[in-house]
């Protein structure tokens, strides 16, 4: 079976600084990878590269079977779910409006979007504006969107930050749902213990190099 992610000799330079160097990584179907590293080690850059939001400066590879350095890299995106540490929600809109807006762009029905909000425990707060919600609730809303999207590759940057115990279970459930159907997940975190328990394998980035 084709791996979900294959990275070969990946290097990323931004503004003259080398952020990633010679990264080799393969992620099999059904696999969960824990990615550790100190601040500035290149973890978020590696996630953004796997999300096709960043181009490699050298090297190449595939994500969900699509060449990340080719012209058609955007075709991988419907299969990629990325939750960064800064929520991509709109403060003036309610949680429901945010999820419905994202759903309308992605071609997901309103009923499905509303159901996903309910599944992450936000049904009661759905009509509250994002600017009036906590960071943890905003993260739950982003997980709801990923629940509705059902990506093949799930990339979570610091997924446990600002979450209560119930929401942490939600992250694990989301990862399990993804990997159970042949997808893969990458969890970036400083919480080694929790991620190591959830992951099949862990790797560490040191100054842009995987060790």
């Amino acid at each position: 079976m084709d791996p979900v992610v294959v990275l070969e000799g990946i290097g990323v330079r931004i503004g003259g600084d080398t952020i990633l160097r010679d990264v080799e990584l393969e992620l099999a179907r059904g696999e969960t990878l824990g990615l550790f590293g100190a601040n500035g080690a290149g973890k978020t850059t590696l996630l953004r590269l796997m999300a096709t939001l960043l181009a490699p400066s050298h090297g190449g590879g595939t994500v969900v079977g699509v060449d990340i350095a080719g012209n058609d890299y955007t075709s991988a995106r419907p299969s990629i779910g990325y939750v960064g540490h800064t929520p991509g929600l709109y403060g003036e809109l309610t949680l429901r409006e945010n999820i419905r807006f994202s759903a309308s762009i992605a071609g997901i029905g309103e009923a499905e979007a509303d159901a996903a909000l309910g599944a992450v425990g936000l049904a009661g707060a759905a009509d509250r504006r994002v600017e009036a919600t906590s960071h943890g609730m905003q993260r739950r809303a982003e997980f709801a969107l990923q629940l509705a999207r059902k990506p093949r590759l799930l990339l979570l940057d610091e997924p446990h930050s600002a979450l209560d115990a119930a929401a942490v279970d939600l992250v694990e459930s989301l990862v399990e749902r993804t990997t159970a159907v042949g997808g893969a997940a990458v969890l970036v975190s400083h919480d080694r213990e929790r991620v190591a328990a959830a992951a099949d394998r862990t790797v560490e980035l040191k100054s842009g190099t995987l060790v």
Binding site: L53, R77, Y82, G88, F101, I105
Partner: protein, 223 residues
């Protein structure tokens, strides 16, 4: 499920208008300042009614251009990197993003034009001639400025040149629009045919639509 470009554009425009309705920046900040700017000219040059009537349309359009570009750039440039990333991963067609942002900015600009136009009508005693043409000219200028602001905001968001490039992009493209709009109003006032000026505005709007559509993907995907 594949979503059509126009369906995505409609969602983006709707999102922008809801955000503006709740922020109220155009309604409660930009419109009053536009009206105050119109008030400054009579205070500066005195109450020469004939002169005010002559310069009124020109002053109105200069204010619409200056404030209009601010409205449309502000409208299109309020997205954070995280929001842009999220939209890209959701599969937003860059052309749909451009169209949606332009439509919402144009709708706000149209409101701005109508309110500030009413103030100009009162302050400058502009005769109301050729009203049906206003329903062509005002939306055309609003749409042109909306698209111009969306393109400029896209350049800023792409991050290669920063905001410093915006005046060089906006000025040459907005001047023909300003010229055509002013001349069309002047033609109406003097009873001259204005079809050529309206056609010039249509051409400018079409050129901006082509530029915006063609540059939307490279600007969004400047990864």
């Amino acid at each position: 499920m594949t979503v059509s470009m126009w369906s995505q554009a409609r969602s983006v425009a709707r999102r922008d208008l809801i955000r503006e309705r709740r922020r109220g920046e155009v309604l409660w900040i930009t419109v009053p300042f536009g009206a105050i700017a119109l008030l400054m000219f009579p205070l500066a040059i005195g109450t020469d009614a004939r002169l005010l009537e002559q310069i009124g349309p020109g002053v109105f359009w200069v204010i619409v251009m200056l404030f209009g570009i601010l409205i449309s750039i502000r409208q299109a440039a309020t997205e954070t990197t995280a929001q842009r990333d999220a939209l890209a991963l959701l599969g937003l067609d860059p052309a749909a993003g451009f169209a949606g942002r332009s439509i919402s900015a144009a709708a706000l600009l149209f409101v701005f034009e109508v309110v500030v136009g009413a103030v100009a009508f009162v302050l400058y005693d502009i005769p109301l001639i050729g009203i049906p043409w206003l329903f062509v000219i005002l939306p055309l200028v609003a749409l042109g400025l909306g698209m111009l602001g969306s393109i400029a905001a896209g350049v800023v968001a792409a991050g290669h040149s920063g905001a410093g490039l915006v005046p060089f992009l906006v000025a040459p493209l907005s001047v023909p629009l300003l010229l055509a709009a002013t001349q069309a109003f002047e033609g109406l006032r003097l009873g001259r045919p204005i079809l050529n000026w309206v056609l010039l505005m249509v051409i400018i709007v079409l050129v901006l639509a082509v530029i915006g559509t063609l540059t939307a993907r490279p600007l969004q995907e400047s990864r």
